[in-house]
Subunit: 446 residues, 2 copies
């Protein structure tokens, strides 16, 4: 799936982003000289051209669980002692949360100090305060947290010349796939030195864009399953958005609307669990929620439309191929062992079933799900496809340049990077694709 340069087995196994491959990439660059950013070229040619010397850096910090719990009970006016007891009752450890909070805070301090020592102007911005103005001001943005914080930081960057770096501020608790290697968390000055010397590579990560069209789009959120709501509003909104108030054959169809977000990991389409109907026969704590299968039609690379029913549809980038998509598609050893055992029984062949072999087959299978963040292709996969008389499923997964989905859902959404969701109901059509303009500029440090 991708060519491996300088990829040791240990690194591959640990799924480190830091050493992912540059798979033949072309485009315009920030460097003063055109260069293809293959390691050899960067190191052989003048490194000064590749040097990274920002004057202004924004450091965006995550909200720790401790901060969240404090804020949660802020209105209740709880003392620290109260909070401690409440958490204990829930089986959570106050001291544990405080410890993680302190570790994060310390690591943020280290980053800020290292930057200031280089004479760089630093702005520390909390997650909730981070906005487009911060992005405009900064020459570069550092995400200080985990992968979630990186996704947030990336979500406001549309300029492919603006670099984003991730530092994992709690390596013991956070995977940090999108962050620099863990050792730089405590040795950030070393990272800065390498960046200043040009001893690094740029990595341009592909991102997903979405166009939305059709009658399912509703700028006003209306929950059709809350029967108490005024349905006149919904009907009116539909008429306005589709122009049926004066419908003539001459009305031009609404142009597809480009959504103001980009997916760094993936787009997930599916029925929401959030449809809640309240019947008076139920006690207050029982709300009837309808978890339904998702119905939609899908067309891959302008191919024929296929009706599908499943738990949802994931479309990811190379970056996202290690995230949710990976968990949807990976196999556990227990399943692989069962398959091998059945094959052995049916053929009489001496198929090994020992732990080592099963692990080896499982690893190879799972590794094949991963591809480079820089490859300009999408990976789609159908989660828990339902196949019966009505619904077919020719391919449960595969690569594509473009995926079109037409919703046949009642209360579905399109979730971008697990953080932003759009209504995607019956009649809406989404076109999902990649565009060079949407690249996110990040850094690979050895």
């Amino acid at each position: 799936m991708f060519r491996n340069i300088m990829l040791s087995r240990a690194v591959r196994k640990s799924l480190s982003y830091g050493n992912a491959v540059l798979a033949g990439f072309s485009g315009s660059y920030y460097c003063s000289r055109v260069c293809f950013h293959q390691t050899a070229v960067c190191k052989v040619a003048s490194q000064a051209e590749c040097a990274f010397r920002p004057a202004k850096v924004a450091v965006v910090t995550k909200t720790t669980r401790y901060e969240f719990e404090q804020q949660r009970y802020r209105y209740a006016g709880l003392s620290e002692e109260d909070l401690k007891q409440l958490l204990a009752l829930k089986g959570s450890s106050y001291s544990g949360l405080l410890e993680r909070h302190n570790i994060h805070t310390f690591n943020v301090g280290h980053i800020v100090e290292s930057l200031q020592k280089q004479g760089i102007e630093v702005r520390v911005v909390k997650r909730g305060e981070y906005d487009e103005e911060t992005v405009r001001w900064a020459d570069a943005i550092i995400s200080a947290g985990g992968d979630g914080t990186m996704l947030l930081v990336a979500s406001k960057v549309y300029d492919k010349s603006k670099p984003v770096l991730g530092v994992n501020t709690d390596p013991e608790r956070s995977e940090g796939h999108l962050c620099l290697p863990v050792r730089y968390t405590h040795a950030f000055s070393e990272a800065l030195q390498k960046l200043r010397k040009g001893d690094f590579r740029w990595q341009w990560r592909q991102r997903i864009r979405m166009h939305l069209e059709g009658t399912g789009i509703n700028p006003t959120p209306v929950d059709l399953h809350e029967l108490q709501l005024s349905l006149q509003q919904h009907s009116k909104a539909h008429r306005i958005s589709t122009g049926t108030q004066s419908s003539t054959p001459h009305d031009s169809p609404e142009a597809p609307h480009l959504l103001p977000v980009r997916g760094l990991n993936e787009i997930f389409i599916g029925e929401s669990l959030s449809s809640r109907l309240k019947y008076k026969s139920f006690k207050p704590h029982l709300t009837l929620s309808l978890h339904r299968a998702s119905y939609y039609e899908i067309s891959i690379d302008d191919g024929p439309w296929e009706k599908q029913k499943s738990s949802g549809l994931s479309i990811c980038t190379g970056t996202g191929s290690k995230a949710w998509s990976y968990n949807i598609n990976k196999l556990v050893e227990q399943a692989v062992e069962d398959v091998l055992r059945i094959a052995k029984t049916k053929t009489g062949l001496e198929v090994p079933l020992n732990r080592e072999f099963v692990e080896s087959v499982t690893d190879t299978y799972n590794e094949s799900l991963i591809f480079s963040p820089e490859e300009d292709k999408l990976f789609f996969s159908v989660r828990e496809p339902i196949v019966n008389r009505v619904f077919s499923n020719s391919r449960q997964r595969g690569f594509a340049k473009k995926v079109c989905v037409r919703s046949r859902c009642w209360d579905a959404c399109m979730v971008v990077d697990g953080g932003t969701s759009f209504e995607f109901n019956d009649g809406a059509i989404a076109t999902i694709s990649l565009n060079e303009e949407d690249l996110l500029r990040t850094v690979i440090l050895d």
Copy 2:
């Protein structure tokens, strides 16, 4: 997994419930004579004892899509012509929906007529009107719809002597796993004849019960992520439910609370997509929703507690082993083929990779996921387990008599049969088990 009596290959492949096995079952019965309900005994002994001759039957009908769409726009005062256009704009077919509606209505009529011809008193009850009083009144209840309607009907029946039958009123659109064989939809009098003669078998389907305890239970629904809500209410509710207002070591712990529902298919535990935070920087149609992995601890059959992170946990009965659980665990041919190919490459053995063999291995694997509705065991499976430094996963699935789950989630729920959900947040402990008292009495017709 279960012994097959009179199970033809074709029947097994079609996953028909009608011929599932009675796997050694004991208990008290409705019949005047104690009998073990194996086919031989029923047919040899007096069939009159096994005859089924209800005097009063409730027929619970589903809401068709057509009826739903009509109700949805009721307040807008749309004419049928308006409705037709609106549906057409969404790509739905008004005439198609009307056709399905008419088919359903016709089939309901057939059921009612057949019952009345036998001098049986019939009450036709819409889905929304069905209640405990209906159950008390009826000698037997017929579900006229699909599997969803059967689940609803079963959800109000707690008396294991009260028979429930499902008739699939739209076989072309509905799978009807929980319903009588499709031919009885148009020949219901024939079904009635067999019931009256005793030419059938009782099937007692196991159901799941749940006990809930701990501080995560909140009788008042409070959405912690809606920061506008009064958090004093939440804090107060917590204090009341945990009795911390006067906390002394002498306070006895709250006893586990038996929930007033039973799962016929499965219990599913997971983080809800419904956490929605509204930030002022987003336009109205973008709501930040947080789709998180589910964190919990699990103990199987009083075994050691294990911390897990996944997309959720499914615990099903034999009935449910063909439903959602099946879709979570089944493999597609594409995946099986890849596993076999990798095994072939690694061993050099002549593992077949042709379509027929791959299909055969896939079918055998998937069939092993199914077990009899009458077996008194639960099947647990972890959906998309996340394995890393912190979280382990010793077994992705298996059988158990009892499963305990402790929530470490922020906004999770326990969903019963895809229809009813309970808050299940940080600190709550659920004990999931089977009990003979909860059996649902249904019918097997050949």
